[in-house]
Amino acid sequence: MFKQKNYLALGAVVFVAVVLLSLPTRATARLKLAVGSWFLPLFGLANAGQQLPADLADSVLPRRELLHQIDSLRRENQQLREQQIQAVAIARENDQLRNLLGWQKQAPWKLKPANVVMRDPANWWRTIQIDLGSRDGIQTNQPVLTAEGLAGRISSVGFVSSQVVLIGDPNCRVSALVENATHDIGVLVASGPLDTSLVELSYLASGANLKPGQNVLTSGLGGIFPKGIPIGKIVDAQAIEYGLATEARVKLNANLGALEQVWVLFK
């Protein structure tokens, strides 16, 4: 049953596993990115395959439908321009007021769009990979957003792709502020493994005045996420640790289960 060849094979496999597991974190990260890049041609093929039906559908769209879409886009563009003019005026006024008060000027956000190319195949992590890497100026710990709100942060960067750890993963903790009279501050921590839309807001003060529907934003503490990025809304809250602290459930604005495009924030 146990031939020498079997022992050798078993020993070799165990040796490889032990060597890989005992490598320094930096070397492991590089090795992971190198091995992960083997899949890039397949990602390209898969994207092209997904794009093909959309291109075909576009080519057969009737002229009337296209004209209708152009018309509605023009109207939307006009509205957005008006809003932009207002926003520029408000920003100028804000800068003037900050100057009068001697406050530090707030740097405008620069966003770079990225496509989600894959999700973590393991069920016990909540990470995605995006198609921006160090060649696009991406660095670790940059915040990642969607149009609805915060999604996560960059956890590791390769040359052409990066890994994003999403809110709700044990490795992504976010200092969050509740938009209420007392501006209660807590930390978003890992939630259950099944529902990606709910996370827990912990370390809240015992007298926190939380009500369902209150907005939750980034607090700006911790140095990674700028202040004021929308995260979600309070669902419910309960006292824990014999009433010494409060814990709340937060429904995320971003649909993390169906991410296709995200924005990387450059400070």
């Binding site: 049953m1 596993a17 492991t28 973590d120 099944l194």
Partner: protein
Amino acid sequence: MNLFKPALILSFAFLAVFGEATLFAPRSLLGAQIDLLPALMIYAALNADIVTLSLLAVFGGIWFDSLSANPLGVTILPLVVAGFPVYWQRDLILRGLPFAQLVLGAAASALVPLLTVLLLLNSGKSPLIGWGSLWQWLVMTAGGAVATPVIFALFEWFSHTLGYQPRTEMSFRSDREIHRGRK
């Protein structure tokens, strides 16, 4: 040495890992992603040699971990635990029976995630686990169980279609030819 089967198994493992990372449907429908590597280990343990089985454990584990937040190499050992004992006992297993394949696939698919999480916890990592993980574990076990006979049938078809067929022995042998009639 015929490299067709090892190449086929490793290619399938590569595509399986890629599929697990890009196909979101199982996760959104069932709440968990189904892992095909344990089922593939069972196929390799029952039908391939020890070198192919070892290569599958090493490369399958590395590929999976490289696309995941797992530490690199952590999936190799659970795959070894799922595949090697089956290889050692394969002469006693009715490998042609779909029921046997289903049971072995279920056992391997249940064992691999369990051992991986135990290894992660043991190495100081904090994976996302809770009561919902039980459901995910059941989905992975059932999915892997169902996938195993399918993988067996698929590889059988591939081997039959693309692989070398064994040379059939003809009944005619020139040294045993009986010459009738007078010389």
